[in-house]
């Protein structure tokens, strides 16, 4: 059960391997990797600058993890989120969940990324060949987290 907020990249294979080996009762490991996607902005993307709120970020991610552990039977849980300047195709975020059977791991992983997208204080600045533009929040993301019955952020 851990949360890391860092500028450096992470090693997905090593994280999944460590999670799977941490507990003989694990039958299912689900992961989500978020990547810097090109094509979202109108012009070709040069870089993505990820700003965050140190301190509050960790608190929010730890709260999300605690909520997931309360809701599902998890044998393991990991959230790693990067900040700083990233290039197209770079990894941004990793969420890993582990459980005896797959239902818990899938639900918890999806819950965590839905929560993170709408609660964790990160902001994306897209630098394209045309301009620098703050990414706007997606209404779908708020709808997704509302589907879990999570209290709205005012």
């Amino acid at each position: 059960m851990s949360v890391r907020v860092q500028a450096e990249d992470f090693d997905v294979g090593a994280e999944l391997e460590a999670m799977g080996r941490s507990d003989g009762g694990i039958g299912a490991v689900v992961s989500f990797v978020g990547l810097v996607r090109d094509g979202a902005a109108g012009a070709p993307l040069l870089a993505l600058e990820l700003e965050h709120y140190p301190g509050m970020t960790e608190r929010q991610l730890e709260a999300a993890e605690a909520e997931a552990l309360r809701r599902w039977r998890l044998h393991g849980c990991l959230i790693v989120h990067r900040f700083g300047r990233l290039a197209p195709g770079d990894r941004i975020v990793l969420v890993v969940t582990a459980s005896a059977h797959r239902g818990d791991a899938f639900a918890a992983c999806q819950f965590l990324i839905d929560w993170l997208k709408t609660r964790a204080p990160f902001w994306k600045l897209e630098e394209t060949t045309a301009e620098s533009r703050w990414v706007e929040a997606r209404a779908e993301d708020e709808a997704a987290v509302a589907g879990w019955g999570a209290a709205p952020v005012v």
């Binding site: 978020g34 990820l50 700003e51 965050h52 709120y53 301190g55 509050m56 608190r59 989120h81 941004i92 975020v93 990324i113 993170l116 997208k117 709408t118 609660r119 964790a120 204080p121 990160f122 902001w123 994306k124 600045l125 703050w134 990414v135 706007e136 929040a137 997606r138 952020v153 005012v154």
Partner: protein
């Protein structure tokens, strides 16, 4: 009060944060935002659409009626877009 601004709220206001003495009329989040909006055109522009302003008091999301005291760290930012 310690104030922190993030993303386009930071760029519009022009600073990442500041320490400001709390005026007597500021007692909660709503009165803080109203007062900040009078501090200049950058503040007014940043706070013009309340639907786009999120507030955290001491790193926890706070509603308009949440109290604000001298020792608080209050952060203002737009809807988050991580992940």
């Amino acid at each position: 009060m310690k104030l922190l601004y993030f993303a386009w709220l930071r760029t519009r206001i022009g600073v990442a944060g500041e320490d400001l003495p709390r005026p007597p009329e500021v007692c909660d989040v709503a009165s803080l935002l109203a007062w900040l909006g009078t501090r200049g055109p950058g503040y007014a522009a940043a706070l013009s659409d309340p639907a786009l302003v999120r507030v955290a008091v001491n790193q926890v999301y706070a509603r308009a009626d949440h109290p604000v005291v001298d020792t608080d760290e209050v952060a203002l930012f737009p809807p988050v877009t991580g992940g």
